[in-house]
Subunit: 240 residues, 6 copies
């Protein structure tokens, strides 16, 4: 049992509220334990110049943290510029969400997913991907209902989870305390059909073995399977 | 009757949820109609160098808008830097909140109030002041309960409201639609005892008369009286 | 009597020299006591994209302080970027000057008014507006004389003055010393026909009452009446 | 056979020249095929404030590309600021190199590894890690020879390689052409004793399977084993 | 005769007004024809860290142009950052002025000379040096009169002038029109005793010969001799 | 004899390797003693808007230093922005190289010369010009061989050297140690036919005399004559 009364392979309680922004084309507030992220989708009926005229769509993401989302207040990035970490995370979210969509079937439409962390307790980037997919899906459904796209170009759902090794043992869905003391930290982005979109594993302390990598992967697959079921239920989406 | 079924001197429905952030020393989510602002207070036990050693405290504010808080998505200020409007608003919020507190009785403590607009529909700066006061009050109470300040140094409560002139008629608490078409736009910051902390009136179209200024002021006094009552009830504060 | 031998309702000595820049389409050096501001008007025969094709003109302002205009040298904004105060002031000057002109009668022409403070002793933003109007007027007259506009689109003159409350008493046209110790500081932008374009009142110390606001307004109206007369004499303009 | 006459599990020709900079405490020019990276180590006998007084050392890395290192000239980052990609890569190099060193045994010394890409043809970040370790090792040896550290605090060597999946087949050490068309791109940082420091796999096109991940990992282990032997020979280092 | 009725070796009319800024420790407005530059000196009783404790003083300069000092309005550097040209000029002014002073005899005092171009018509950097010396001299005299320096540490006066080659002929003190069409443009900084502090010659079109360089140098020496006399008269300074 | 066993009028050993970059249209690595600069030429078949349609070409240069090119590591300009010194140098290199080419005969083509200092020991800007000319020449020859320009528009070769006065004596081609202690530092850009393109002389300590300027010029002419011969030999260029 972990200090927070979870089993090694147990997710934190998850709560998702859809449609929480009256302006956005898709939106949700996802709460994974004490990590709360607001995700909104913005549709624009044009694409970057480098794909203009190809009939292809595009999806990007931006990520931010409110200054007091963290235990100690962070300076605003509007004052000091976006950090390397922010760039890294928003590139990751964008790649993950593009993997879920047949961009060629989308037409010349861009969708931007904004993920803003209201409160942080570990796993903000993976919550952003899991919630961002739901905002994206809503926006695509809206485009279909408005007749701007014939068919929803989602190929597969996508979600993400972190895992880590603490004291030599692998755990699913680390909170901030666990993450701070983990020897190895990893993030997995996995499709509804169980394939890998992204895998990142980093030894913060001791390097890890191939066997430990396999343990982490198995936990991630279990966690993402549960997240996929939640996404499908909430969105009324039957999967790939 | 206005298009939104309000009388000329009627506020929008207000809803305030206190304590919505587990990290902050004070926090609330204030909803004035469809304008939603998250306010958090951060306490730091040191002051800027220019008042160090004087025993005086300091209060500042920062203001931001989530990119999709607006009807059309705004670029993040972390990408393009803070606008003149942002600077103007956060300076206003800071001045307003400092007027509520006996800084000399506060000791060498700084409090920063962050006001982040989750959804915007007019009046975001005045909602930030009204909500910011509540986050500030909570943080000061916490300092008292922890024995870091002997007595809460609040001198008076403070709140704010906008008023405007549309088609020659004065209205209280404009929403975004009304604000866009107003000939004169004004903001009032008023203490619980009814004195003025800040008054700003701008003719967007035709200049206005002294009489019209008086009409706006009367509406603002009525609105702020209602806001003060709400603040006092929620905070259990009896006033100056 | 004030420390500088002025009565409570007395302006500082004013001196305006027109046409002080050989390149600009309009220019003046305005001296309000020891506050000296150079104002130039630059005409461009195109407008911002958002009004292109509407036949409407546009007027903006920029404001700067020379590094040693102040008692203690200020860092150049070219080294550290424009401050929030600078943004606030140049937005104010722009709004004030636009209120003087029928933009629709101006045609697709832009005029930029640059206000550069050569020496500062309080009231730089109001001197900028009073002087800026004169540079603007000259530039419009030049456009008329060149046949680029049929008729001068000035609707009314505009000027500005500061007032404040020191030791409970209201004073007109504060210099830097007075301004530093004022409890309430205010700026008024008033048209030649006596209507209000902008009113800003801020309690730096104690909040102020409605009666005090009225006292400040009366002083401002007296001061602006004198400034209007000076503007009309110098420009040979008969008013609205 | 690949288009460049390599087998699927074959590295590009590698050439390393040590000591190529007369100022730096350690340096090399590493050539992996047509990818040429200059690595220098800079020693500073102080540490960041957050570890001051702990007796612990610190290692960071910076990464840059000369403007014409690429086929089409890139703008200088000194003109447009560091990109998200640059931040991501230099953070990765830093983490990788810190994993090789017992920072506690290093004393309060900082080492910065600069990796500047002279010519790019794929795999610049992995070449930076492999070469950066050699510059780092030299700098640590120099500190030992100067008596500033008692014993070289290297725990294990570290090197890195990229692998990818093209047309469903896994390949070692992709050049730029291969990388551009790969469905999955991955980077592995592996210690001399064969443990994992970092693993990053990204599906650019189709998601990948667990089996494919294993194939990539095996190729990376083979490649890193060869790189480790080269490092040990050149540095006269016997390994962990 | 030149188009502006000057002989080849004739300066433009010069006018200098001393003490034009009530805050600065030294100041002048120098007019060289239609080039008008305001120079102020600011004294600070501390020096940069790299000379702290050596008893040596330091002198720097900053340079700016008001946006409408030029025929076509320039963007403010506070909006777009300082240009390479600005950096180049302010470094030149600083070097020139430091050559006039025995920094070791100055004590740990810094003087900053601000040169702001009010109106430009060629030769703004040389006018800045000539005027800047006068502001500097006044500030040093003030320090002597206040007892902060025992003796004025000026070693020699310094002034500057531009020369150029147009249609193969050498001319002194080019105005903007002449400068725009010159094949070679040069600036000379010369001490009161006739020695060279700085010489810069640039072929904008055809390269120049050693003989042409000598012609330019002779003109500069004649011009600077006249400027030196003016400086000495105005300042009551007898020279080295 | 100098401390480095050179005569007063002797260049450091020079070594140039042409074609060191597989992507660039022209490139060389020039080593002047321990100063090593990599120069690349990039051709773009378009010109800046201000010469579009005139049939004229354009040449610019950019300059950078690798962080550990210097004895003490410098911060990257990608982190802190380009310094005034960098701007000054790259403007100088661009002017020098444009003087070598008949831009009108070049057609609407732009060439950018990047000069990146790999290792610095004095004279990096002059080495950049001497090497930059060689990269430029190669790029122009390549354009001729591809039929994009009929004839190589080089008018004359161009090279550059520094000279200085140490202890009253003039020396050619200062290294870093000599440069640090020189009283006067100068740079000369000279064409193959011996005419002057640029001359810059700065008294770091004592001002210099006309005679000393002549001594420096003679040394520079001797040094540039030798550099011209090397350029002609390596490039197979017969001169103007």
């Amino acid at each position: 049992m972990r200090y927070n009364n979870r089993k090694a392979d147990q997710l934190r309680p998850i709560n998702v509220e859809l449609g929480i922004n009256k302006h956005a084309e898709g939106s949700c507030l996802i709460k994974c334990g004490d990590t709360h992220v607001m995700c909104t989708a913005t549709v624009e009926e044009k694409v970057p110049t480098w794909i203009k005229g190809t009939g292809t769509g595009w999806i990007t993401a931006e990520y931010g943290m409110l200054p007091r989302s963290t235990q100690t207040r962070m300076d605003r990035e509007s004052k000091k510029g976006q950090s390397g970490r922010t760039h890294e995370i928003q590139r990751l979210i964008g790649r993950a969400l593009r993997a879920a969509v047949d961009l060629k079937a989308m037409g010349e439409i861009s969708i931007k997913i904004d993920c803003d962390v209201i409160q942080a307790d570990g796993g903000t980037r993976t919550a952003s991907i899991t919630g961002g997919f739901m905002a994206l899906y809503q926006a695509l459904e809206k485009l279909v209902s408005e007749g701007k796209i014939k068919q929803n170009p989602i190929k597969d759902s996508v979600c993400a989870i972190s895992c880590g090794i603490c004291d030599g043992q692998a755990y699913l869905d680390l909170d901030y305390n666990e993450d701070s003391s983990a020897e190895t930290d990893s993030n997995f982005v996995i499709t509804g059909s169980g394939r890998l979109v992204e895998i990142q594993g980093t030894a913060e302390g001791e390097p890890f073995t191939t066997e430990q990598l396999m343990d982490l992967l198995k936990l991630a697959q279990k966690g993402c399977d549960e997240l996929k079921n939640l996404q499908q239920t909430l969105l009324g989406y039957k999967g790939a």
